[in-house]
């Protein structure tokens, strides 16, 4: 990696101030950023570690809303998000133990990798992304591959998940990286069903509206088993064709509904 300055502030305000420096970069769990730096594919002048900010860590539940601090590790969510078992289960299957102990929810959502798990959970749950300066609805937050509504220097301080009536996440793993080749998060709430898909689309995480409509009418496997999704905008790579991913979107949706109901 190239040389950089390093900060480890103790508060959100200090972190935001430090990030105002030119070419400064926030460092959360580093599970994407550190390999990128080692490959010399990024050259920030200053890394601002968020790991020392106690206020950004923790899991709490109030009035049917689960709030996770932006700096909370996947392992901690897996262990502490009992109020939202589908989310805890999802967090417990991210990467491997090393990734889960270092990686954070804020880091994952800020990076918005098109095959990451958290974007599907946040979008399907209708989560609210809380930053140092505002609140952003998940529907407005995800804007394509590695692209989000975050502004330069804006930090995710917490994420609020309304706990659904029923939910499940089904991940079909890419054989090498074990990221989601296709992952589907289904959440049923009083307002209807939301289905979010990660890993499959060239446009990043997305909501499968046809399935949502059908499942909102009838939350059962039968409602989705004959649906299809167009393969046109799906990813094609070494690990699967567009058609295969389109097929997996349906198959994982069916499985998620089966597991949730």
């Amino acid at each position: 990696m190239y040389a950089f300055e390093f900060d480890r502030p103790a508060t959100v305000a200090e972190a935001v101030a430090a990030l105002a420096a030119e070419d400064a970069q926030a460092l959360a769990g580093g599970q994407t950023l550190i390999p990128t730096l080692k490959q010399r594919l990024a050259s920030p002048s200053r890394l601002v570690s968020l790991s020392g900010i106690a206020d950004m860590k923790g899991v709490s539940t109030k009035d049917g809303v689960l709030t996770i601090g932006g700096g909370t590790s996947h392992a901690r969510v897996a262990a502490e998000a009992e109020a939202y078992p589908a989310l805890a289960a999802m967090a417990g299957r991210i990467g491997d133990p090393a990734v889960r102990n270092r990686g954070t929810i804020g880091g994952s959502l800020a990076n918005n990798d098109p095959a990451a798990d958290y974007p599907a959970a946040a979008l399907a749950s209708g989560a609210t992304i809380v930053t140092d300066r505002r609140e952003i609805a998940a529907d407005d937050y995800f804007q394509g591959l590695f692209t989000t509504a975050l502004e330069e220097g804006e930090l995710i301080t917490a994420v609020r998940f309304p706990v659904p009536q029923a939910a499940n996440y089904q991940k079909f793993e890419q054989p090498a990286s074990r990221f989601a080749l296709t992952g589907v998060f289904v959440a049923q709430t009083a307002d209807g069903v939301r289905v979010a898909v990660t890993g499959a689309s060239e446009d990043g995480v997305f909501r499968w509206k046809d399935a949502e409509a059908a499942l909102s009418e009838d939350f059962s496997e039968g409602a989705v088993k004959d649906l299809t999704i167009a393969p046109d905008s799906m990813i094609a790579d070494l690990h699967g064709s567009k058609q295969y991913r389109a097929h997996l979107v349906k198959t994982m949706t069916v499985r998620a509904v089966r597991a949730a109901s």
Partner: protein, 787 residues
């Protein structure tokens, strides 16, 4: 009753204590005083003309000691190829130059263009980024068929074409094979790909070169399976350093799988540069560099035909293979698709007519060379896949079809130039059916179907020729090296022994197994025997470890040297006991006079050898140290039968291996635990090839599977608990231990079993699928089911 020491016992591996406790000594642990570091600037295009390499800005960067380019290696030898194949017209293969640093052209992504030596690795890398390279892109030659087209771009401008050789084996059999196929009752044809693999040893390659200005001696520390071979190749062919001025040390080596056999540019560079800059020079490969600079494996495209008579007896086999050599000829590359592949095409079966045609092709990809099994997995895969397909076409049981065609009488001379000394293929198949519980499969299939899964059983046999090799035969076949092995056994005054072997352990457990042999022969505790290897300064000239040869060839040299020790010790004992030498018996570490109670202990004899006060100095020299070189009379021929059971998820195409059983004939066994471990590891790699791993280039010659994000290595949860058995050993007839090789068997025998099982599963689900190329990823299996 299992033994607790000596041959046949399973003492735990003594070397594991240091490997597992962080006290191993790997090449990267070696740091020499004043050491500088090299970073290689590698080509990011597959094929291009090097118009200019401007190092002026880079040379002014902090910490830079010196920058080298191809121009610095004009007049220096290129990397040599150790095997010359003669084509079917009697002409030698086309053999291109392979400069240490690229000269004129770059020929694959990763081809080194320049090398920066600097004070730190980071400074070397910084400066490498400042080198300005002007490359004129040329069309990349990636696909082998396209590479052979008349108008194809040439990888090497000075060669006639991209064809390395067109090899026929055995050319004289060609017409008879054609006729046999024409007259056959049934011919089964299969086209298949044996995909390109990256070996991925856990320890990446490392080299440290050092030059002693006072003595003029060079030392190279390197991650090698055969330090003497590197010393010979690099000294004699590349740098012009006589062997007595060059020491090559390969300390602990963390896995090789073939890819650390070869002599690489980085080794030659570090040795050369150490003198040029008068400082030790170190290179440590990153994992990314390993993907684009370690020799790859496999990469064959084959059409095989199996002809049968009306009674389902095999009458002929004909194969046509394209084999990828990559951009240059790696050290033993030409031998892999030719002699290590064609000679195994008979498999375990008595097929009277066999003809193998291989065209080896240059492409703009990383050079391809031996990878665990080397040629033999490719042969086994073709044969065992086509037999399964034939059984299906003929509606006969695939196990019965194999049994019917087994070679049953030994020795057996195949139509592809080798003679199997022993074997009992029926016995291993019987054992396999037992341990795999073939009889219970139908019931297990029923249970899987109830759970919505398709279950398949795949069986195959394998044979391999290993224990490389009789030197005279190898020489006739084009080897530019001998293939004996050496050992020096040094007995110290107080009775302890040091075995210095030319074999080299990079994970095989030699430090445990070799002492078992020596201790058994003398009747001592194994703790009295130490193994020293991996240093040309201490071991006699040896050929190293590959081709499952260390015990069969290296172990035999140790036996021969130990026999010499015992013979001399008996002379000393006879003198001490005032008896005739012929009456001296050695048992449990003591010499006695037959029929008497007179004896003398091992330690008394060894002490006498070094304190020769009462000693037959007129007859023998003092000291107790002997060297032996062993050149085998034949290959050894381990064989076995493997069974794999899979479940396929019909909704996603995902394959899960439920059971895997292996019945192997390795002849006599020295350490059953180590043998099981070798089989486990080999099967793991075979499953990796069957289901997960593939090295993929795009049409521009860019490496798509360039990291573990896209190159799928098998993980622990991808493999089942194995059931392995090696009780059906038929001892090798021509080495003193009666042993065969076990290192590659698992990787050779397992891929066809997995594919056969998946095809069986799909067929049981009513899918008319008769082949899927490896790796059988979920996407591929699903696509085949839904074609």
């Amino acid at each position: 009753m299992p033994k607790d020491s000596g041959i046949g016992a399973s003492p735990k591996r003594r070397e594991d204590v240091r490997f597992l406790s962080g006290t191993g000594n790997y090449t990267d642990d070696i740091n020499r005083p004043g050491q500088a570091y090299v970073h290689f600037l590698r080509s990011d295009v597959a094929h291009g003309r090097l118009n200019n390499v401007d190092t002026s800005a880079a040379a002014a960067m902090p910490g830079v000691v010196r920058i080298f380019t191809g121009a610095d290696f004009e007049g220096v030898g290129g990397l040599p190829c150790g095997w010359q194949v003669t084509d079917r017209f009697g002409e030698p293969m086309q053999e291109p130059a392979h400069p240490v640093l690229a000269q004129g052209k770059v020929r694959h992504v990763g081809d080194p263009i320049a090398a920066v030596v600097a004070e730190t690795p980071e400074q070397a890398r910084d400066a490498a980024e400042a080198i300005e390279v002007d490359i004129e892109d040329l069309p990349a030659v990636v696909n082998m068929k396209a590479a052979l087209a008349d108008d194809a771009t040439k990888v090497h401008d000075d060669l006639n074409s991209n064809l390395c050789y067109d090899w026929g084996f055995i050319e004289e059999n060609r017409d008879a094979v054609d006729a046999a196929i024409k007259g056959a009752a049934h011919v089964t044809t299969l086209e298949l790909v044996n995909q390109r693999m990256v070996a991925n040893p856990m320890e990446p390659r490392v080299a440290v070169g050092e030059f002693d200005r006072g003595t003029g001696d060079y030392t190279l520390f390197t991650t090698s399976q055969n330090p003497h071979v590197i010393r010979l190749l690099m000294g004699a062919f590349v740098l012009g350093i006589p062997e007595h001025k060059l020491r090559v040390v390969a300390p602990d080596v963390g896995g090789g799988f073939g890819t650390k056999i070869f002599h690489y540019a980085e080794e030659a560079f570090c040795t050369f540069a150490a003198k040029a800059v008068n400082r030790p020079v170190k290179w440590t490969s990153s994992r990314s560099e390993a993907f684009m600079s370690d020799a790859h494996g496999r990469d064959h495209v084959t059409r095989i035909e199996l002809a049968l008579d009306k009674d389902n007896n095999f009458v002929a086999i004909r194969t046509n293979t394209l084999a990828n050599m990559g951009a240059y000829l790696s050290t033993f590359a030409p031998s892999v698709p030719s002699y290590l592949h064609g000679t195994l095409m008979a498999g375990n079966y008595k097929t009277p007519n066999i003809y193998v045609n291989v065209r080896a092709v240059f492409t703009n990809t990383v050079p391809v060379d031996a990878y665990r099994g080397a040629g033999r997995p490719e042969a086994t895969f073709q044969l065992e896949r086509v037999i399964d397909k034939a059984a299906r076409e003929l509606n006969v049981d695939p196990i019965a079809l194999r049994r019917q065609n087994f070679v049953t009488e030994f020795p057996y001379a195949t139509p592809v130039a080798v003679e199997y000394d022993t074997g009992d293929y029926t016995a291993t198949m019987d054992k396999l059916e037992e341990i795999a519980d073939v009889a219970g499969f139908a019931e297990r299939r029923k249970k899987s179907e109830q759970a919505g899964k398709l279950r398949g059983l795949g069986v195959n046999c394998y044979i391999e020729a290993c224990g490389l090799a009789p030197s005279n035969l190898a020489g006739q076949l084009g080897a530019r090296a001998g293939l004996y092995e050496s050992a020096t056994v040094r007995v110290n005054a107080t009775g302890g022994l040091v075995v210095m072997t030319g074999s080299h352990s990079h994970g095989q457990g030699h430090e445990t197994a070799f002492p078992q042999v020596v201790a058994e022969m003398i009747g001592l505790d194994e703790s009295m025997v130490e193994v020293v290897h991996g240093d040309t300064a201490t071991s006699p000239m040896g050929m190293g470890t590959y081709g499952s040869r260390s015990l069969a060839v290296g172990g035999s040299a140790i036996v021969r040297a130990t026999e010499k020790i015992i013979n001399k010790a008996k002379k000393i004992a006879a003198h001490l006991l005032e008896a005739a030498e012929a009456d001296i018996e050695l048992k449990d570490g003591a010499f006695s006079v037959a029929g008497t109670d007179k004896s003398v202990a091992w330690g008394d004899v060894t002490l006498a050898a070094y304190v020769p006060h009462n000693y037959p100095l007129d007859d023998i020299e003092p000291g107790l140290e002997e060297t032996a070189f062993y050149d085998p009379a034949n290959f050894t021929y381990p064989a076995g039968a493997y069974a794999c059971e899979v479940e396929v998820d019909p909704e996603t195409g995902k394959v899960t291996i439920e059971r895997f059983s292996a019945a192997d004939d390795f002849g006599n066994i020295v350490n059953p635990m180590i043998v099981s471990g070798q089989v486990h590891g080999g099967i793991g790699q075979g499953i990796g090839q069957a289901l997960l791993e593939q090295c993929v280039y795009d049409d521009d010659g860019q490496l798509l599977s360039a990291s573990y994000m896209d190159y799928a290595m098998p993980r622990a949860d991808d493999v089942p608990f194995y059931s392995v058995d090696h009780s059906c050993g038929t001892p090798c007839t021509h080495n003193p231990l009666g042993v065969k090789g076990c290192g590659e068997a698992g990787a050779i025998g397992s891929p066809p079993a997995v594919v056969n099982a998946v095809i069986d599963a799909l067929q049981s689900g009513g899918k008319a699928v008769d082949h899927i190329d490896m790796p059988m990823s979920p996407a591929r299996v699903w696509a085949a089911m839904n074609a």
